[in-house]
């Protein structure tokens, strides 16, 4: 996808003006938050599980070189081929070369954000291969020509009504009914023969297991297994941070991932893959290619962004982010939206052109609270802002504003006078109605909401009066 993070403000304006987007986001994020809260409440050992997961990831990252070598050795022994890609372009070239050497015409794909990150669609176009997305949400956005707007539910920006309209136009045998069950049935009919007849399958992986050379996929639809079993060749593209030491370590994360992502105890399908088809096996690919992708992950290892490499891509941070809920995923203009994306996008694509992302955050802290591996997202976003300031990136206006604030904040008497005056002014503007519908110079803020009337007296005035 074409990154548009540099025009974040314009993206946001467009998103806020889109009436159905707010409906789609509200319907989905509300359900996801409710389901997650319930299933976490029922998991009495959750705090300990989260702590264990954090420690396992930190241990794995501390010994990443060891585990990558161990994984490679075991994967090779299982009959897989292993490739190393420093950049998205390297990864695309590896995929393109495999497709060409197999003379592939069609490729079925299992949703993977890493695939989006390296531009797998572009790689397949270059190789002259027809790409068939099999995950329902990816199928929807492929038909609509949209980029993904969420890392777990890429079609979150679409309402049921919009999907019904899309399928009616694009499917060979669309359903006459518009309920969700009928829509899912229509996609099932459309994709069935494509699963069976593709030349190549391409997936990502949720985990790499060093001790066995296995990789793991989780889905609810069962499309990973249906996609990767019939074709002769299976290509896996995966980030090097997906490593865990052993099968039992993976179990710790499998308990957390599905709970955090969609509010269930486990996904319907969890599959551990170990090499290509064995002698005597009746199905499975003859060739298995595993592409290990860096794309700045090794840079993040020696940076304050290191804890971000714990991320297991559950999407809970975006489901609980008030900014995401208001503007949706497309506004971020990058593969990874929401809080985790606002950290990853600058790390992977540079500080330039992404400077609005770390600032599109209220620092309310919900993202860290719900993160199943305890990533300090607000701290990292704050550190990215500091780095922007060091690199002299903020605009003249915001630097002027910060300097003005610093001048006030270091002069207590002046500061108190200023806050007392603005408190009085705001109370006058409220005219006793308890709310303020417009404020000079803040028309943009009050267009979609009211400002509450402040209490009588500033904090310092109340404090002095002993009304603590």
């Amino acid at each position: 996808m074409k990154q548009t993070s540099h025009q974040f403000a314009a993206n946001v304006a467009r998103a806020l003006a889109e009436p159905t987007l707010k409906i789609a986001l509200d319907r989905t994020t509300t359900l996801l938050r409710t389901r997650r809260a319930k299933v976490i409440d029922e998991f009495a050992e959750y705090a300990q599980a989260r702590d264990t997961a954090e420690k396992i990831k930190d241990h794995t990252l501390d010994n990443l070189g060891h585990y990558l070598r161990q994984f490679e050795e075991n994967a090779l022994a299982s009959g897989a081929r292993v490739y190393w890609a420093e950049t998205p372009a390297d990864a695309r070239k590896i995929v393109t070369d495999i497709c060409k050497s197999e003379n592939a015409k069609t490729a079925t794909r299992v949703k993977s954000m890493l695939g989006e990150e390296i531009g797998i669609a572009e790689a397949l176009t270059d190789a002259g291969v027809e790409r068939i997305e099999t995950d329902l949400a990816e199928h929807i956005i492929q038909l609509a020509g949209d980029p993904p707007s969420h890392i777990v539910m890429p079609a979150m920006h679409k309402t049921q009504e919009q999907v019904a309209e899309l399928f009616a136009q694009k499917h060979k045998e669309p359903s006459t009914e518009q309920d969700v069950t009928s829509l899912v049935g229509s996609a099932r009919r459309e994709l069935r023969s494509k699963f069976m007849n593709a030349d190549i399958s391409i997936s990502g992986a949720n985990f790499l297991i060093a001790e066995t050379g296995s990789f793991v996929t989780v889905t609810n639809e069962g499309n990973a297994e249906l996609t990767t079993t019939p074709p002769n060749t299976h290509i896996v593209t995966v980030g090097i941070e997906k490593m865990v030491p052993s099968l039992k370590h993976a179990a710790v994360f499998l308990r957390l991932l599905s709970r955090a992502a969609i509010g269930t105890e486990i996904t319907q399908y969890t599959t551990f893959f170990n090499g290509p088809k064995r002698a005597g096996d009746r199905d499975g690919p003859e060739n298995l290619h595993i592409v290990l992708v860096d794309n700045h992950r090794s840079d993040m290892l020696s940076d304050f962004l290191r804890p971000m490499l714990r991320c297991i891509r559950c999407g809970a941070c975006m489901n609980h982010c008030p900014v995401y809920a208001a503007v949706g995923g497309h506004a971020y203009g990058a593969v990874y939206p929401g809080p985790m994306g606002s950290v990853l996008t600058p790390a992977m694509t540079g500080m330039k052109g992404t400077k609005d992302l770390p600032n599109a955050c209220t620092l309310n802290g919900r993202c860290k609270e719900v993160c199943p591996v305890n990533i300090p997202l607000p701290d990292m976003l704050r550190s990215l802002r500091a780095r922007q300031f060091e690199q002299d990136m903020p605009s003249g206006m915001s630097k002027w504003g910060l300097r003005a604030w610093a001048m006030l904040a270091t002069r207590p008497a002046l500061y108190r006078l200023g806050t007392a005056a603005s408190n009085m002014a705001l109370r006058m503007m409220a005219r006793g109605r308890g709310k303020i519908t417009s404020v000079p110079l803040a028309g943009g803020w009050t267009r979609t909401r009211d400002l509450p009337q402040p209490e009588a007296g500033t904090f310092m005035q109340q404090y002095k009066n002993g009304r603590r």
Binding site: T28, M153, K158, E225, L254, N274
Partner: protein, 214 residues
């Protein structure tokens, strides 16, 4: 950058961080699994498995049978109740093929729109109500994914408490693994349209589990 250069860069970034005994350090982190996983000591494994497998989120149905010999009659009853005809995709595994399937039209591979398949699960997980399938010459993958109705057989004695127990049972080393290990928890579902849960996305819409007493 080559493999070696990337690994060297990673090693440099991690200088001074690595564990002396990596395996011991990794094992120590998961030494007390009951502290971080769901526990249900008070509940018998079978009861927990059934409760989870038949829950609202897993949506399987469970039937207990006294022995494998009762399987053909039970499958026949299921097919009659659902009006599924006589065709049965049967996993080519001796414990199943040796039963008396007179009256069925059995096949050993599933076609694209297979209505029904019967397969043997190698284990089950009580914690989550999941079934575990290892691939083998007589256990292909697609029989568990293509049919609309997935009928699965599992011995009551192979219900294990947790996923970790499955790994212990089959082996945790590289050479212990078959091509794939599928942990299947109920029916194929999706929540990709407005997070509304719907069944039968690409895989089976129905799962019926026969628990065999042994």
């Amino acid at each position: 950058m080559s493999r070696d250069a990337l690994l060297a860069k990673i090693d440099r970034a991690n200088a001074g961080r690595g564990s002396d005994d990596v395996k011991a350090a990794a094992d120590a982190l998961i030494a007390e699994p009951d502290r971080y996983r769901v526990t249900f000591q008070a509940m018998p494994l079978f009861d927990r498995f059934v409760a989870k497998a038949t829950s609202e989120t897993v949506t399987a149905t469970v039937e207990s049978l006294d022995g494998l010999a009762h399987l053909p009659a039970a499958v026949s009853a299921y097919m009659a109740a659902k009006d599924l005809g006589k065709r049965l995709a049967l996993q080519p595994r001796a414990s199943l093929t040796s039963l008396d399937w007179t009256g069925f039209e059995t096949v050993d591979t599933a076609h694209m729109n297979e209505p029904l398949a019967l397969t043997f699960a190698d284990a089950a997980i009580a914690e989550t109500g999941s079934l575990v399938f290892q691939t083998a010459a007589d256990a292909p993958v697609l029989l568990n994914f293509l049919p609309l109705h997935h009928l699965a057989v599992v011995r009551r004695s192979s219900i294990l408490p947790h996923m970790e127990d499955v790994f212990d049972h089959f082996g945790t080393g590289a050479t212990d693994q078959t091509r794939s290990l599928n942990i299947i928890t109920g029916t194929s579902g999706t929540a990709d349209i407005e997070a509304k849960n719907v069944r039968g996305a690409h895989g089976p819409r129905f799962m019926h589990i026969y628990c065999i007493a042994d």
